[in-house]
Structures are given as C-alpha cells and as structure tokens.
Amino acid sequence: MDILSSLMDGFATALTPMNLLYALIGVLLGTAVGVLPGIGPAMTVALLLPVTSVLEPTSAFIMFAGIYYGGMFGGSTTSILLNTPGESSSVITAIEGNLMAKAGKAAQALATAAIGSFVAGTIGTALLVVFAPIVVQFAVSLGSPSYFAIMVLALLAVTAVLGSSRLRGFASLGLGLAIGLVGLDIVSGQARLTFGLPLLADGLDVVVVAVAIFAVGEALWVAAHLRRTPLQIIPVGRPFMGKQDWKRSWKPWLRGTAYGFPFGALPAGGAEIPTFLSYVTEKRLTKHPEEFGKGAIEGVAGPEAANNAAAAGTLTPMLALGLPTNATAAVMLAAFVQFGIQPGPLLFENEGPLVWALIASLFIGNFLLLLVNLPLAPVWAKLLRLPRPYLYAGILFFATLGAYSVNLQAFDLVILLVLGTLGFMMRRYGLPVLPLILGVILGPRLEKQLRQTLQLSAGDVSGLWSEPIAIVVYIIVALVLLWPLLFKAWRRARPRTAAAVAGGTVAGGPAAAGSTADRPPADGPTASDATPANHGQEKS
C-alpha cells in the first residue's frame, strides 16, 4: 500500500465541505472545552458518542480529532491566562507562560504556544504517518501472547509511572477492571457482578462510566470546593510575535517536538515527562537565563510543542495497535467499538479510508486551530468568565442527557450517580482517574487475549511467553515495576550525584519529574517529597 496515495485519498475525504465543517466544529468545541475548567476533550468525546452514532464514522472521527487537538490548545490558553493549570500536561507551560502574561506579554505567550502547537502537531502527525504503518507491519505478525503482554505493559505503565502514588494508581486500576467485569461473560455466558439485575447483563456502557467519572465526579468535586473569589484573568489582545520572539522560539519548538513524540508513542505515554524535559533543556540552553523565572518565551515554546507532539505520538499505538494511553484516546477507542470497527493492527487494512481520513483531518485540524484561534484568543479569554453555577449545572445537565440518550433508561442515571460519587471520592483521596478508565476499556480486551493465548497452548501457562516479543515486554514490565527500588538502591550507592541529578534532569525519572512539576523545577530534590495531586491526571 502506498502511504502517500492513501494519505492523499484521506485528504480528499476530509476536505469535502461537510467533513471540513465537522473538523471546524471539532476544533472550536475542543478549544472551548479545553479552555473551560472542569470539562475536557475525553469527556466531550464521551458525551458526543451517542449523538454521533447517526453520523458516518468518518465524519465522527474527523470531529473527534479536532476535539483532541483543540482541547490541548485550549488547555494551554487557560494555563497562561490563569496560572491554575487544569491538566498535568500544561503545568509546565503555566510556569513561564503565566509569568509572561503577568509581565504584559500575554499576546506573545499565546502566540508562541499556538504556533508551537501547530509546528509540533504537524511534525508529530507527519511522524505518525511514517511510523504507524511500520508499527502495523510489525504488529500483524504478533499473536495473542504478545498482545496480552503489551496490554499488561500499557496498563501497568500508566498506573505505575504516571501519578504521585503507585499504590493509589493500582487501587484505581483494580476498580476499573472490576467495573469492566460487570455483565455476561462472552465465552461462557455466565453473569458476573450483575447482582442478579438483568439491566446489568450487557455490562456497563463505557459512555455512562466515562461520563460519570469525568463529568459528574468533577462537578460534584468542584461543587464541594468551589472557589468563591473570582479568578484573576489576565486580559489579552490578539496574539502576535515580534522578530526576536520568532528567533527565540523556533529551536525550542523543534526540540520540544523531538521530546514529545517518542514519549507520547510509548505505551506509558503522557505529556508530563517530555514537557518537563523540554523545560529543563530550554533553561539550560537559553541565551537569556536571567529571564527564566520572570517569563521566558523559550519556557513556553518548548513545553507547549512537547505537549502537542506527545498528543500526536499517543495516536501511534492507538491506531496501530488499538492501545490507548490517555483518556481521550481511550474514549476514541470505545468509539471505534461503538461503530462496529475492530481496533488493532488490522485497522489500517480493514478501515484504511477512515484511518487515512482521520490522519488527514489531524493536519487540517491543526491548521484550522492556528487560523481560527489566533484571532479568537480574546473570545476564549472571555469564556473563562462564564458564571460557575451555569458552567457546572450545564456539565451535569449534558452529562445526564448524554448518558440517558444511550439507552433511554433511568437506570443508567442511577449508575451515573453511583459512579459519579466514586469519581468524587477518587478526587478527594487522590486516586488517579486514568487507570480506572483504561481498566474499564482494556480489561475485557485483555481477558479475551488471555483466553485466546491459553486456548492456543491448550491450557499450558508457558503459552504466555511463547513469543519472543512477549518475553521482551515482560522484562520491561518487570523493570517498570522494580524501577523505584532500583532507583533507591542507586541513590543510596551514590548519594551526591543522584541528588544533584534528580533535581535537574532525566535521571530523576518519572517520579521526580512528576512531583517537581507543580513548582519551578529549580526547587530541586526537596520538592520530590511533595505529591501534587493533579499530576498524572489529565483533564478529561
């Protein structure tokens, strides 16, 4: 299959007026929900699932792609203008971005974020075009044992690497897997965890679970701690950049992209680590070190590019392997299933036109974001002034509507409330949400691969490691699980170097990178004991 001609066909599909309109709706909606607190792209896609079931799958995914990139863009706008980042991936952008805004350079900060997002998103999508087919070629040769191993790796990596507390991550994963078990077992037809209720026999609808945990849980949580004093929003005009700003931005954009894409494409994806690495790198390489801590443009350009490149990278395992590593990708995977499309390596073969139209629409969406959002920045800033009672009442209203319209039964709303309360509790006690959602979505698929594997080996457990790739993946799993112990041992052996490195760079590893994220990284090792709760959480 010729990639280029497939991509051109994809553009032909995506550029029809109707699909272009859906892409535009997608980016506008995505940016709006990215800007608004309490609501994000994953939840928006989940809410739209029942509504989009009347559309062509291609149009629906073109819209979802717009929401995905738009949400990323909106998140950075909020973090620059408010300094209270809603998602972990824009924490780093918020550091210098908000300082720039306070110093009267909001327009430049927004411009470098927007143009950097465009550059990184476009390069990231191009890399996706190159790498996804290669991954597919490699993946079609894999059997159930390897898939099972890769899924185990993705679940464990997201649980153990992201977030502040591994223990609480695993608790969340366990709850998610348990929710995924509800319903009739596909193979044997046995009812599991149904409490004898026939309404639970089909299992819990992913839309209902996602909306409950993301939307209802968030609305209840914010209601319990609603900020009574209005936030300080920095007024902004039309974003623009001077010659000097361009000169200082383009290298950080490219370096940020180089960090972001590979991290996003890994099974433990996520944008925290690459944005952090990008920040540290720019701080070290800058010709204006005196500006760091007062609003340096490099500190916005690099991390923001890394963030968007990571978002593009995440789509590689999602499209090529059917393996989501962030919340939005997880819900998009659920959308594939709803449209009767089997995700996995055969996706490119079976649904080639759809996938290539989706990828083409990522390029288009990126371009639309740049075109639409530079002039619209002041409008988005106004959106932040929406009275909070209306915002959160609206979230509950549309959550109810979305969940109810799946099956038109009030019982789903009871589940929505019960799981919403669970979502509230998870936020109160620092349980990350992402492992739960991935557990719900990947759990049943994991079980299917496990059963296929042992069916092939006629019940022999060694069937699990009957493929070389599976063995490699299990070794990586072991490393991921043992990493904190290894790191501790290493630090004990060489206390001084380790402490110095942990404050500044890579070797601090995911754990240190995450925990220093909420404060300027210059705070160093002391910060790594604190555990800011929202990291590892992506606004959903």
Binding site: F170, L220, L226, L396, M425, E447, Q455
Partner: protein, 167 residues
C-alpha cells in the same frame, strides 16, 4: 473509645481502604460462585480474571490501610475552580445531588422537559445563583432546545411524559 476515635481522626482515607476491600471481597465472592465445567476450548474460564482483580483490590486495600495508619495521605485533586483551603461544602453538594435524584425520579414520568428544567434550575441554585426567574427561563429553554434538538436532529425521542401531546 476516645483513644480510638482520636486515632481515627483525620484518617477518613481508611474508608477508601474499606471500600476497596469490600469491592475486592465481593468480586472474589462472585467469582467463586461461578460454576464452569472445564472446557478444552476455554481453559482460562470466566473465573480467572475476577480472581486476579479481587486479589489486586484486597492487596491494595491492605496496603492502603497500612500506608494511612503510618501517616501517609493523598492530596486532593486541585483545579482551576477548586479552592482546597476550605473543607468540603456539603451545603452545596447535597442539594446538587438532590437535583440529580429528582431528575432520575421524574424523567420517565414527567418527561425530560420538566425533569431537565428541574435538574438545571436546582443545580444552578445549589451552586449559588439566586436569579430565580432568569435561571428558570434558561433552564426551560435548555430543556426544550435539547428535547427538540434530539428529536429533530438525531431522531432520538426523549420522553415527553406529562407534556405528551403538547410537545
């Protein structure tokens, strides 16, 4: 008793451990209850994953309890609109939950237009808005718009309930 209650003070996270334990125990119990004849085509059977998940939850419950008793605690999630300096405000959350429950009870009988209006109006009130008339009009408009939007645009007929025939 006083020493026990003082030791438990500020340790509400133990409730999370208890919940994890309860869910884990239930998952295990439910799995044990399954009877499956051994089948060549499905050697794993429907029991294996529930047993693993139940065990995982029980282990997490115990470890979390130990962690909390030793003084470990998680930080609540921050956010743009979240102010963690004051404790949970139940005077907002409970009316909000009541508005939600009212909608569940009303939706099939009174129909979406009425129950949705109640839901939005009640939520806005719970969250602190006191523009009764304006909020009421917005609520009604939203409910009507979504009702007709879903019916005409998507072909999904939300329940009309009491207003059957009028709408």
């Amino acid at each position: 008793m006083t020493s026990l209650s003082s030791r438990l003070k500020g340790r509400s996270e133990l409730g999370v451990a208890a919940l994890l334990g309860a869910v884990g125990a239930f998952v295990l119990f439910d799995a044990v209850r399954l009877v499956v004849p051994y089948s060549q085509s499905d050697p794993v059977g429907p029991k294996a994953l529930p047993v693993i998940v139940g065990a995982l939850l029980l282990v997490c419950a115990v470890m979390l309890a130990v962690n909390v008793v030793r003084g470990g605690h998680a930080d609540a999630e921050a956010g743009e609109d979240v102010d963690l300096s004051h404790p949970s405000d139940w005077k907002t959350v409970l009316p909000l939950a009541l508005a939600f429950i009212a909608n569940i009870l009303l939706i099939d009988w009174a129909g979406w237009v009425i129950s949705g209006t109640v839901l939005f109006w009640g939520s806005v009130w719970a969250l602190g808005s006191r523009h009764y008339v304006r909020d009421g009009l917005i609520s009604l408009a939203l409910a009507l718009l979504t009702f007709y939007g879903f019916y005409l645009g998507l072909g999904i007929a939300l329940p009309a309930g009491l207003l059957e025939g009028i709408l």
